[in-house]
């Protein structure tokens, strides 16, 4: 499985200057960590790779995956953890996980397993609005992993989290990817996540070289 970005460029609507142009990068079944300063285009690249945005130029090719951007791809193969809201308000932890996993076709057991692994057993029936930031992010990671995605994309997953929560998330992601069935791309400022990376891409430098 791989995601191949070829000659990729993107320009936001109403903005003259592209975020990047002519970018070539490939993601494989390992953890790729994208580092770089804010606004350099890491999140944009993640969205393009996931099919949440359509590239202005170039293309995203896949091998062993459904077409990025298609409903089936979102449903069965992609889990994307965003920087902001990732959970359905009003719903409990368990319902958040169960709903998203059911859409992806995951089993109840898988949901229970990830609730346990992310240390969420005590909150399973609590509304996600009543959780702390760290707990919410753990729920978001559990939701992402419970459907056993082929592509796991995390955008600043540990931003603002304490070491304890970061450690739980690192362990969970590493365990999941070590099974060798998923492409994992993480965009982060957080150096604590470098330990789980198979490949480290300094995105700003990467873009400079590409130009």
């Amino acid at each position: 499985m791989r995601i191949n970005c070829r000659g990729l460029g993107y320009r936001y609507p109403g903005v003259e200057r592209p975020v990047f142009d002519g970018l070539d990068i490939e993601f494989r079944t390992e953890v790729t960590l994208l580092r770089g300063y804010s606004g350099c285009g890491k999140s944009t690249l993640l969205r393009l790779a996931a099919g949440l945005l359509k590239p202005s130029s170039g293309k995203v090719e896949t091998e062993g995956l459904l077409r990025p951007g298609s409903r089936e791809f979102f449903r069965k193969e992609l889990s994307f953890v965003f920087q902001d809201l990732n959970l359905l308000p009003l719903a409990s932890v368990e319902r958040n996980l169960r709903l998203c996993s059911q859409i992806g076709g995951a089993s109840r057991e898988e949901v229970d397993r990830w609730i346990g692994r992310l240390g969420l057993d005590d909150y399973r029936n609590r509304s996600v609005e009543k959780l702390s930031g760290g707990q919410r992010q753990r729920v978001a990671i559990a939701r992402a992993l419970a459907k056993s995605p082929k592509v796991l994309i995390l955008d600043e997953p540990t931003s603002g989290l304490d070491d304890g929560n970061t450690e739980i998330i690192k362990t969970a992601v590493r365990n999941f990817v070590s099974q060798g069935h998923a492409i994992c791309v993480v965009a982060t400022h957080d150096h604590r996540l470098e330990e789980i990376a198979d490949e480290l891409v300094d995105f700003h430098t990467f873009l400079s070289l590409a130009e």
Partner: protein, 370 residues
């Protein structure tokens, strides 16, 4: 499939939360659709009343009457030699037709004096037997009176004239008999008058067209009297009434569509992150749009029905007859086609209001989700 139920359950839970947290949005939707429903109902009831009165007027036999008169001068002895009658088929298969012959002969009736003589093809059509009658509005009926017409002498029994005959002759005391019995009186000429009680304006129009065509072809100059012009005016008013009803329905739909659409767009802007997140899980746009559609349609239809209900309850508290607005009785509104048409218009408004949502849902997820 179960996720689909869960998603809809969640979306409804979210809608209820929104209604709870922003009751003004819900109330404004219900009040606007309710007011439109009430206003529409009042217009519908008024128009329906007007339409009912127009229809009654148009069904009135008097107004649908057609009278065709033609002078036949010296036809000779045989009625068979008369210029052809306008054939019954030409009048249309329906309707009631009577043919009268106003002779140029006068009869002297005992104790009455000189009376005009009128012949008909079939007296039974008027409810008379084949005999001679003196039609009078105030003389005692059933009394036989002696009469003479030239050399011919007979008796005529007093009877009441029909409305047609009074209108036709314009006077009281007329001698009536069958054309066969009065063949001698017809020899010197007569005015043949055909009275048709048409069933509809179309029928009257057809009669006019047929008579005009036949008169032209056969070079005859019949005189045709009818209320066709008035009927056509009434028909125009009825058409206007139908158009007004359609206008009210379409107008209500558009207003609801615009108002609900504006509110739906504001709500969508508030919730687009959440909706985009749900879409990123693999839920299709149509599922989300269907929810918005059902929600807005339910509110639009619910509001209009509420408006009907308020009007009905309000009207039941008033003495409509005393206020001279008996037509405001809305008890049958829901069962009527017009009421259902307005409800359908409201539903259409609800559907229209989802257009901005449908456009908003087309925005790429990556531009919304951060």
């Amino acid at each position: 499939m179960s996720w689909w139920i869960f998603i809809h359950f969640y979306l409804w839970q979210n809608s209820l939360r929104r209604w709870w947290e922003q009751p003004l949005s819900l109330l404004s939707k219900l009040v606007i659709s309710g007011l439109l429903g009430m206003l529409g109902a009042v217009v519908i009831l008024g128009l329906k009343d007007l339409g009912g009165r127009l229809d009654a007027r148009l069904r009135d036999k008097e107004i649908l009457g057609v009278v065709l008169s033609e002078s036949i001068v010296s036809p000779g002895r045989a009625l068979d030699n008369l210029p052809g009658e306008f054939p019954r088929e030409a009048w249309g298969a329906e309707g009631e037709m009577l043919v009268y012959y106003q002779t140029s002969v006068w009869a002297d009736v005992e104790g009455v004096g000189r009376c005009p003589v009128l012949a008909v093809d079939d007296p039974e059509q008027l409810g008379f037997v084949d005999d001679l009658f003196l039609l009078s509005e105030d003389r005692m009926t059933g009394i036989p009176l002696n009469l003479t017409m030239g050399n011919f002498g007979s008796e005529a029994v007093v009877a009441r004239p029909t409305e047609d005959i009074v209108n036709l002759m314009g006077r009281d005391d007329v001698v009536l008999g069958s054309a066969d019995r009065l063949a001698g009186a017809l020899v010197k000429g007569f005015i043949r008058t055909t009275v048709v009680h048409a069933n509809s304006i179309e029928h009257v129009r057809k009669i006019h067209a047929t008579v005009a065509a036949m008169a032209k072809v056969e070079d005859r100059r019949p005189r045709l009297r009818s209320n066709l012009r008035i009927l056509e005016e009434l028909e125009k008013v009825r058409d206007m009434q139908r158009s007004a009803l359609l206008f009210v329905t379409i107008g209500a739909s558009l207003v609801l569509g615009l108002v609900f659409g504006s509110l739906a767009w504001m709500e969508f802007r508030e919730e687009r992150y959440l909706l985009s997140l749900i879409r990123s899980f693999g839920v299709g746009r149509m599922t989300l749009l269907a929810h918005a559609l059902v929600e807005n349609t339910l509110l639009a239809v619910g509001g209009v029905l509420l408006g009907f209900l308020v009007l009905r309850v309000g009207a039941s508290q008033l003495d409509l007859a005393a206020l001279q607005i008996p037509w405001l009785d809305s008890s049958y509104l829901l069962a009527s086609g017009e009421g259902r048409q307005l409800v359908l218009g409201a539903a259409l408004g609800g559907v229209l209001s989802c257009v901005p949502v449908a456009i908003g849902l087309r925005k790429p997820l990556g531009l919304i989700l951060k």
